[in-house]
Amino acid sequence: MATRAPERPAPPRRPGGKRRLTARHWRHTVDVKASPYAYVAPFFLLFCAFGLFPIGYTLWVSLHEWTLLDDEHTFVGLENFRVLLADSYFWNATFNTLSIGLLSMLPQLLLALWLAHLLNRPLRAQNFFRITLLLPNVTSVVAVVVIFSQIFGRDFGLINWVITSFGLDGIAWRDGTLSSHVAISTMIMWRWTGYNALILLAAMQAVPRELYEAATIDGASSFTQLRKVTVPMIRPTIAFVVITSTIGSMQIFAEPLLFGAYTLTGGQDRQYQTLSLFFYENYMRLDFGFSSAISWMIFVFILIIAGINYLLTNRMKGSIR
């Protein structure tokens, strides 16, 4: 209010076409400069209330010995983090998360590329196939896991039925580290491959047709075209898909929980307990200080991964231009 224009009949005294600070003009300036902030404000206010504040508060809780039902919360500094970093179960969960993440992401990406490539060609009933790709994604996680748990069953599972019919021994999918990771990765791939394929397909459709025509004239096969034309042209989109699925893989939760028939430890040997599940196990013991420390470590991991991704994407962009 203090910056308001002094008095109205000012123009003559301001030569050189300097800005006239009339009230109207001022309002216009405010409108141009401030309105955008007002328009995005609702999101940021909500983000502060439900995003930023909880993150900060979680940090505060993580510095305390904090049990939900106790009225007293003693400040313990970084003790929770010290205990956490010395906890072999935490590192076990970190390993499982990375392992399941990698096992699901790499095949998923290749498969999605291949599917998108197939659908990028003139096809009969194109829309039908594209919609079909999305169907696994709209199915509820619970339903997916329940069905896959049956398929990966030890005694009556479909896969073991096939294996044993060849005279081999069935696999106790849930009991081994690698086998359980493969089973869980399969569920994740089932849900997300089609979704990623659609994103890649959208990017592929933006690739100029002439490039393919030229490649065809030069005698490049379909596979060579995919490798030499399509992939380089859609690199930024591939980077996007990689980033979203890595962040998604940090949050794997429902699959291991339900695969283990609702046991929070993710198997007797914690062989498929992910970070989120490890967090949930401690949260369910109402040990809020310790679980807050875990969620902060997950946050740090995500920051690190996002950072690596950022560097890689920058490099990729550089190589295109």
Binding site: L69, A261, L264, Q268
Partner: protein, 435 residues
């Protein structure tokens, strides 16, 4: 709650009259002493009172509410239900934040210890005269509803989950073992004898395993001991309690003698196995008969014998009144009514909820009840015998978590081939870390 003693005594009297009235109502319809009813009810019960009851499934309380309203016309009851885990998690949050809890809440056996820790967040039902009910109850069930120091009564028990041993007569017959349930019960008065029977079963060379997995057996053995996972000062004593070690060793011998089908309860292999007959016995709390039936193994496929070691219990519920509730007196009266002898009997008939009042165990409706699905097994008698035989054991705040840690240890021996001694050490260390 600092009423002068005289008024408290008066309240008690009112309550007793009400209780005896309810007891009288059980037989005929609206029978005697209308004078007493109006006399006790008229002055206090005029303003309308709304009570909410929060449960984790359909307890079949509907008709009982109607009955209660006959004596408390001013009370309006609404019931809300949530899924089992959500219900208890919500309650923890509501108690911690001091808002949102119902006037009466159901708390299942696995969670009751958590809330005994914070007894001051619940109304002390002793203040409303409900300690008079102590003599009616199974002792251990009553103890579960007390605060840690025993000075406050925070909840009254509804049902119990008596323990039995379910078995498949067809597989027993193949293995040359008796199939009649009394003869089967006679095979295993102790857990060691149960293991011996298992060895015979395995020696007969059938394809099925003798039992599903050692976890539930271990839990049942620990719960039969005088001291379980905790001592009375809430210290985890898993590592030093010889009874826990003994249970562990029996469970390990079950694994080593190949009695177990390497199954974890509620996994798809396990549920399918119930119908397909991959295992011949399993530890069976009363509610597991429902799980068996859901798998449709066929009538008479499973039968029920006594559990080794004499009695046991798994699950069962208490009704508590959180201190947030504005109408503790009416809430206490409703709790008293819902857990009364008459109500528990009608709930047994309607919902197969096993009563927690031993006086009912001789009632023909319970004692003579047979279930045709389980070869006409007298399940009323089997499960109540088990509940009666159980000695009270102090339950620590995180018993459930300790049980998971120990069960995981047994699982590691069986499924990951861990050395039993190492598995024990790790399981004990895991248990002691739980706070």
């Amino acid at each position: 709650m600092s009423h002068p003693p005289r008024r408290r005594a008066a309240r008690l009297l009112v309550l007793l009259i009400a209780a005896s009235l309810l007891a009288a109502c059980g037989g005929g319809e609206n029978t005697p002493a209308p004078g007493a009813a109006s006399g006790s009810a008229a002055p206090a019960n005029t303003e309308p009172v709304k009570l909410t009851v929060a449960l984790f499934s359909d307890f079949h309380y509907g008709p009982l509410y109607e009955e209660f309203k006959k004596t408390h016309p001013n009370v309006e009851i609404t019931e809300r239900r949530a899924q089992f885990n959500d219900h208890h998690n919500n309650l923890v949050t509501q108690v911690a934040t001091g808002a949102g809890a119902a006037d009466i809440v159901a708390v299942e056996g696995g969670f009751i210890a958590t809330f005994r820790e914070v007894a001051d967040k619940f109304h002390n039902l002793n203040d409303y005269g409900l300690n008079s009910r102590q003599s009616e109850y199974l002792d251990w069930k009553w103890q579960l509803g007390l605060s840690k120091d025993g000075s406050q009564l925070i909840g009254l028990g509804t049902d119990v989950g008596g323990l039995a041993m379910c078995y498949r007569p067809d597989l027993f017959k193949e293995a040359g073992l008796p199939t009649n349930r009394d003869e089967v019960s006679a095979l295993w008065p102790t857990w060691e004898q149960y293991v011996e029977t298992g060895k015979k079963f395995v020696a007969a060379g059938g394809k099925a395993a003798f039992t599903d997995g050692p976890g539930e057996h271990f839990r049942a053995m620990v719960e039969q001991a005088p001291v379980g996972f905790y001592d009375t000062s809430d210290k985890v004593v898993v590592g030093s309690n010889p009874d826990v070690r003994k249970a562990w060793d029996v469970a390990v011998s079950m694994i080593q003698n190949k009695l177990s089908g390497k199954l974890t309860a509620f996994t798809p292999e396990w549920t399918t196995g119930i119908a397909k007959g991959t295992f011949a016995t399993m530890v069976c709390p009363a509610w597991k008969t429902g799980v068996i039936k859901d798998q449709k193994p066929g009538e008479g496929t499973w039968d029920i014998a006594a559990v080794p070691g004499g009695g046991g219990n798994q699950g069962g519920t208490h009704l508590l009144a959180p201190k947030q509730g504005k109408h503790p007196k009416e809430a206490a009266e409703l709790i008293n009514f819902l857990t009364s002898k008459e109500s528990q009997l009608s709930l047994w008939k309607d919902a197969s909820a096993l009563p927690s009042l031993p006086a009912l165990y001789t009632d023909p409706a319970v004692a003579d009840f047979v279930n045709p699905y389980f070869g006409d097994a007298p399940i009323g008698k089997i499960f109540t015998d088990a509940a009666k035989a159980l000695k009270p054991q102090y339950t620590g705040p995180k018993s459930g978590d300790v049980n998971v840690a120990m069960g995981n240890g047994l699982g590691r021996i069986e499924l990951q081939g861990q050395d039993p001694e190492e598995a024990w050490k790790q399981a004990v260390a895991d248990s002691e870390k739980i706070k």
